[in-house]
């Protein structure tokens, strides 16, 4: 690349596109290293465009913001984690709670993204990054060799040049697409998350969910989305309860039920309705999720550019683990570190930026994704979605049903009968079991 020409016209060292968790962490790292950083956000403030399924696991922030839990704007600490399996009339819940997650250094927390992301971006500003809001990036600036040298924005006189562009522009990442880092976009890799935030008095939430003070509950649900593959969730904020569903977009299109109707069905389920009764909708929101993990990930490095967070499909949607913000924060941090390295070494080519790939590969960011590469497809498969919940619920119902004077049937017999009744082939069950074991074991 033509270092000298760029040197003269650069407006800053690093442009970070998007003030979400990935962008803010990238900006914090780069600015703290002394680089001049511009953080561009299209909303009126960071977090104003962002929503999610409710739990953030900020352990990765230990490196960046020591004792983050003393200042982060969280709603409740998740001390109770439930996985719920629903059929139309049944519910099976695995419920875990621990005191440990309710005190420092904590584990997961519920938080409003407009609060959390705004807070994280304030750390980027404190580190010296310049945050420019209400500014939409419209494309990449490239030199005649195709090297990314900046971005165009929707403001007059809106071109901005830098040595490295870090694209944290979210799930739709038009920048990664423009840079040719995505080979294709396939609708089957995406899900749609929709959510209602329901207002309820804190005491009512505490009582219904069995928590006190800042303790909170996260319930992940499978089998509640009708004919559409996906899942549901219910979690507690301080004085609101969020209830929502995640839906496979490709399946949704062929259905008669719209997203809000699927939420309504979930809200009316006998296992859910008592939890949220009387809650008034404070906000309805929607967002697309890059669900497919490794199968959809783009190249994350090109000459002069890195991609992080949802833009790089770094979202772990693996059934019992549903994470995104932590992957975004980590990948943003590593992108920031790699950009610092490259700028200092005077080589911002893909080769000079390869430290990003190494960091992703050496840590949970890609290792979790590799280990769980088959999980997203398994979790969203028709069998897991539509056949297994009914079978499992029926098995448990028969186990606990007392049919006196008949003696208790053996579990194996029930299992066999219910598997046949559900129309599940034995070899499919074994195969799915093995896939599950390899992923989660």
């Amino acid at each position: 690349m033509n270092e000298n020409v760029n040197e003269n016209v650069n407006d800053c060292d690093v442009i970070v596109v998007g003030g979400g968790p990935a962008g803010s962490c990238a900006a914090i790292v780069a600015a703290r290293a002394g680089l001049s950083v511009v953080l561009l956000e299209r909303g009126p403030f960071p977090g104003s465009k962002n929503m999610y399924g409710g739990v953030v696991y900020p352990r990765i922030l230990d490196e960046l913001i020591p004792n983050w839990w003393e200042e982060a704007p969280i709603q409740r600490w998740v001390t109770r984690r439930s996985t719920m399996l629903l059929t139309d009339t049944q519910a099976l819940t695995v419920d875990f709670r621990t005191e440990a997650w309710g005190k420092a250094p904590y584990n997961g927390a519920t938080a409003y993204r407009p609060d959390f992301d705004h807070w994280l971006a304030s750390h980027a500003e404190a580190a010296g990054a310049q945050l420019l809001t209400s500014t939409t990036v419209t494309g990449l600036l490239r030199d005649d060799k195709g090297v990314v040298v900046g971005v165009t924005t929707d403001r007059p006189d809106g071109d901005l040049r830098a040595r490295v562009v870090i694209a944290c522009d979210g799930v739709n990442s038009f920048l990664a697409k423009q840079a040719g880092l995505y080979t294709h976009t396939d609708v089957k890799h995406f899900t749609l998350g929709v959510k209602e935030t329901l207002a309820l008095p804190k005491e009512v939430i505490d009582e219904r969910f069995g928590v006190r003070g800042r303790e909170g509950v996260d319930i992940e649900i499978i089998g509640c989305t009708g004919g559409v593959n996906g899942g549901g969730f219910v979690y507690t904020n301080l004085d609101t309860v969020a209830v929502g569903v995640v839906l496979k977009i490709a399946k949704l299109a062929g259905q008669a039920l719209r997203p809000e109707q699927i939420i309504a069905t979930l809200k009316a389920h006998p296992a859910i309705a008592p939890l949220i009764e009387g809650g008034e909708v404070k906000e309805y929101s929607a967002h697309v999720i890059p669900e497919a993990g490794l199968a959809m990930m783009p190249k994350m490095i090109s000459d002069g550019m890195l991609v992080a967070g949802d833009a790089a499909a770094l979202c772990l949607a693996a059934g019992i683990w549903l994470e995104g913000v932590n992957f975004a924060m980590a990948s943003g941090m590593y992108a920031g570190e790699a950009a610092v390295e490259a700028v200092r070494a005077g080589d911002v080519s893909a080769q000079g930026l390869r430290g990003y790939q190494r960091r992703l590969s050496d840590t949970f960011v890609l290792q979790d994704h590799r280990k769980l590469r088959r999980a997203p497809e398994l979790v969203l498969s028709d069998r897991v979605q539509h056949l297994y919940p009914q079978m499992v619920a029926n098995v448990v119902e028969r186990m606990f049903r007392i049919d006196n004077p008949q003696p208790k049937p053996g579990l194996r017999r029930i299992l066999k009968q219910e598997r046949k009744r559900a129309g599940i082939r034995r070899r499919d069950l074994i195969r799915d079991g093995l896939t599950g074991f390899r992923s989660y074991g």
Partner: protein, 94 residues
């Protein structure tokens, strides 16, 4: 959920509407579309079939999620951009 209820639900989200639409739908292409995935999938229910056989898109209450262009099977039917900076949906508690 009735349509009236859903309109009330949509009222809970804040939208800073720009005078120009950020997403443009080509009704001529939609007129030939029989599957109309967007009508079911849009979480804000903004794609409305018209009696004339086309589809009208109301951009004002758009969540900017991207579902419509992802799900659309008709090339060129949806021209999708983010709204001008500072405009569009503004979340408060999500």
């Amino acid at each position: 959920m009735t349509l009236g209820n859903f309109l009330e639900t949509m009222e809970t989200a804040e939208f800073r509407v720009h005078p120009e639409a950020h997403i443009v739908v080509d009704g001529a292409i939609c007129a030939d579309c029989t599957t109309r995935e967007c009508v079911v999938a849009c979480p804000a229910n903004l794609f409305v079939p018209t009696s004339a056989g086309g589809i009208v898109f109301n951009y004002e209450q758009c969540f900017e999620c991207g579902t419509c262009y992802l799900v659309c099977t008709q090339a060129g039917a949806i021209t999708w951009n983010y709204p001008a900076g500072g405009h569009g949906v503004v979340f408060h508690r999500t």
